[in-house]
Amino acid sequence: MGMTMSQKILAYHAGLPAVKAGQLIDAELDMVLGNDITSPVAVKEFEKAGFSCIRCPAKVSMVMDHFTPNKDIKAAEQVKTVRNFANKYGVDNFFDVGRMGIEHALLPEQGLVGAGDLVIGADSHTCTYGALGAFSTGVGSTDMAAGMMSGKCWFKVPSAIKFVLKNKPAKYICGKDVILHIIGMIGVDGALYKSMEFVGDGIQYLSIDDRFTICNMAIEAGAKNGIFPVDDVTREYLSGRFKREIRVFEADPDAEYERVIEVDMSKLKPTVAFPHLPENTRTPEEWGDVKIDQVVIGSCTNGHISDLRIAADILRGKHVAKGVRCIVIPATNTIWKQAMHEGLFDVFIDAGAVVSTPTCGPCLGGHMGILAAGERAVATTNRNFVGRMGHVDSEVYLASPYVAAASAIAGKIATPDEV
């Protein structure tokens, strides 16, 4: 029986000729990631266990992104704990304000993860790097501590669902609509414990940023990882950025998939996930008149330069509706600078939006845009659980940067055609 892309990467890192779904393996890691929320727990476990060193400090990254710039004294103390740990154990990939960005945009940008890698991160959206042809998955802080100490992690080899993405996406359709459509179809546990492998003639039309968005939200379908094959788009992105050798793993022709699902991207409509689960997806004819109080354009899902360009194209020469707060959050310092040089900030600010420093911030209800009771936000983020962006009685609607920007102008959930 052949292997999937994901299974091949796992077999390679476990030093085995082949693996099969359900098999338990111990595998060598290329990168172990933590953030300012999960690293402190990992540090506590690491030190409690009495571990004396990190096996390979160059294979550890700690990104202070969730509550930074530190939102309060407790958050500052947590970052201080991690900073001291990084200094003590020689973790050079420690990213704080000034160097930092949202972890899942920053690691690829800095060339720290790439094709063929095996990556674990104490953050559920670590699955993002599958866009680069890596096997990448979220774990908890104890797994992070063990991974730092041993350089290894145990895995149960996943089975897989194959998504065949066909044709060129329709107008105003981007990676966000593709993944929301898929989650709406299979549900928030539709890929539980499984790999989501994205292939098909349509992937040539998906930019690397679209692929990051799609793999980023694989976890919202319960998946262990999402992954794209390596092609010219991947190679162009990694070129000059990723310092290690690119390792390409292709699925065998007889690889076993539990399901094969075709998605015709030319037929997709702008898709919004209504409260309180990412699977509650609706297309424009089902939206109704949903008045909003806030728009957030950013996050590890949609804070890339192409997302900001989309938002700016919609907002150019227009104005955010009265009573709506529109917050734009470039995902990294590099993206921030690029957006500034391209004049996108002029567009945002002239439209009545505000531009924030890179941070996860409001996505998880941390800071920089918290909702009051009864308020509604359209966000390009990844989760709309109860209380996710603030008060337990607030609501989050997940959308693409096209729909988010159009909604900011309309003051209600809207498509670009309506503004």
Binding site: L24, V41, D123, L192, Y193, G387, R388
Partner: protein, 162 residues
């Protein structure tokens, strides 16, 4: 080891944001995390929960974030066992790694109500609804994972192997 307690009952897709909201993640204090456990889905949980009590839920328990604070908060609140039809995979790993007992048993989920008193022999996976007298057998863990549980969590099992 046998645990026994009163059941708190929840539906499907209980996510980590309701188990422990992100606004409280600026601490690693187990007691402080426990004091906010489940508050966005069940305000009374913290007031009512007693040491040994048991959570029973439907599908995909613990979906969402990788925050280990979620199983830590549940464990520190006094909960001795979570029974569900299925668990989200990161929560599953985290619970095993920190030593929060979890069991998959759809039959038990179907036949246990809020407020029932349930006991369980964790080593055998035998669940008894003491209120109704019904017995259920949970799925056994693979030996590899049972070893982590027996050693008291991932770090302890790594140290034992060294």
């Amino acid at each position: 080891m046998t645990v026994k307690g009163t059941v708190f009952r929840y539906k499907s897709d209980v996510d980590t944001d309701v188990i422990i909201p992100a606004r409280y993640l600026n601490t690693t204090s187990e007691a402080e995390l426990a004091s906010h456990c489940m508050e966005d889905i069940d305000k009374d949980f913290v007031k009512k929960v007693k040491k040994g009590d048991i959570i029973v839920a439907e599908d995909n328990f613990g979906c969402g974030s990788s925050r280990e604070h979620a199983p830590i908060a549940i464990k520190a609140s006094g909960i001795s066992l979570v029974i569900a039809n299925s668990f989200a995979r990161i929560f599953y790993r985290n619970a095993i790694n920190i030593g929060l007992p979890i069991l998959e048993c759809p039959e038990a989920v179907k036949n246990i109500k809020a407020g029932d008193v349930v006991s369980c022999d964790l080593s055998k996976g035998e669940i008894v609804n003491e209120t109704t007298g019904q017995k259920f057998q949970a799925e056994p863990f693979p030996p590899f994972i049972q070893n982590i549980i027996d050693k008291g969590g991932l770090i302890a099992s790594i140290k034992a192997a060294q």
